[in-house]
Subunit: 192 residues, 2 copies
């Protein structure tokens, strides 16, 4: 989102493997213990959906024109947090970072992740972006973890509308692959 | 929320055990396959956070005064969908409805649910409601599944600020225990 808006920004590393997210000093920054946190002057925001909402207003990009559109963006952002990135990101964490191998938990998460991918793929069959013909912060929210499908064991051949949608987003001015935005992330280093 | 606002409304039963949520006819009502759905005249809304947002505007109750408050409500509603009710409701479903017994999946969900309960309990130590001194739709969102703690194996003795907060909400005019609002729910019948 920051890159798509042409923002001037710097990433800061949070070490989940050292459980820095549970450290009292980090809980002072975010009581929920999560990343990302956006710092801008005196403002400090957490929850990616809140950060996207704030940036949409700040840059006047990818937001809504009325309350109906705002709620449609909210509908997909809540689905993302509840059923989509929530399961996909956790499945990826266990598979590719913790490397637990196949367990009842990965099986449980995969069942839910694939169901949610099917819902989004079906929705995108009829339209270019999640809400009509233009990118909104809902698209930015849902696409975040999808540029490394091998890390949670999915191929876009099985979800062709999602694959096409991701290509459309990746072709937008300013887009950069997420790993390039996260120096210090363990996976690209291991791959390299 | 509907009761707290004094709305005139009627519940409609969705049979999750018969997987009515996955039926094509239900997917016509909600492509995400979830309950609740709010129908009002020609409007049809899904995602509880969207429904709460809509009702706050409709009734002029429990909403926000400015964008900062709106984002603070959004922050807790997203946390609820991602890490709080999401894990608590799923844990309860497995424990009390599917009756799977203890499994690696219930253990996984319980770890995450208890962590999130600790975050909310700590937050509520300093204030009456999630956002300051007045009830907002964020409180309504998070409290939904908490009036049956035995069904996911928690006691409010371990989270006293949550217990106090739930009592405060239950004392508000119009509040009714969730089971009384859901005729046909399997659990109270089994208990009776």
């Amino acid at each position: 989102m920051l890159n798509l808006c042409g923002a001037d920004w710097t990433p800061r590393f949070v070490d989940y493997f050292q459980r820095r997210d549970a450290h009292p000093a980090y809980r002072e920054i975010n009581e929920m213990g999560e990343a990302p946190v956006l710092e801008f002057g005196r403002e400090r925001l957490s929850q990616s959906g809140v950060i996207l909402d704030y940036l949409a207003a700040k840059f006047g990009r990818f937001g809504w024109r009325n309350d109906e559109e705002r709620r449609e963006i909210l509908r997909w952002t809540l689905f993302d947090n509840h059923k989509f990135t929530s399961y996909i990101a956790t499945l990826r964490f266990l598979m590719s970072l913790q490397k637990t191998g196949e367990t009842p938990v990965t099986e449980f998460l995969r069942g839910r992740a694939l169901n949610s991918l099917g819902i989004v793929d079906k929705h995108l069959a009829a339209q270019r972006f999640l809400i009509g013909d233009s990118l909104t912060i809902a698209d930015v929210s849902l696409c975040g973890y999808l540029y490394w499908p091998d890390e949670f064991g999915v191929s876009w051949k099985d979800y062709p509308n999602i694959g096409r949608w991701l290509d459309t987003i990746a072709a937008l001015p300013g887009w950069v692959h997420p790993y390039k935005l996260m120096p210090g992330h363990p996976l690209p280093e291991k791959k390299g």
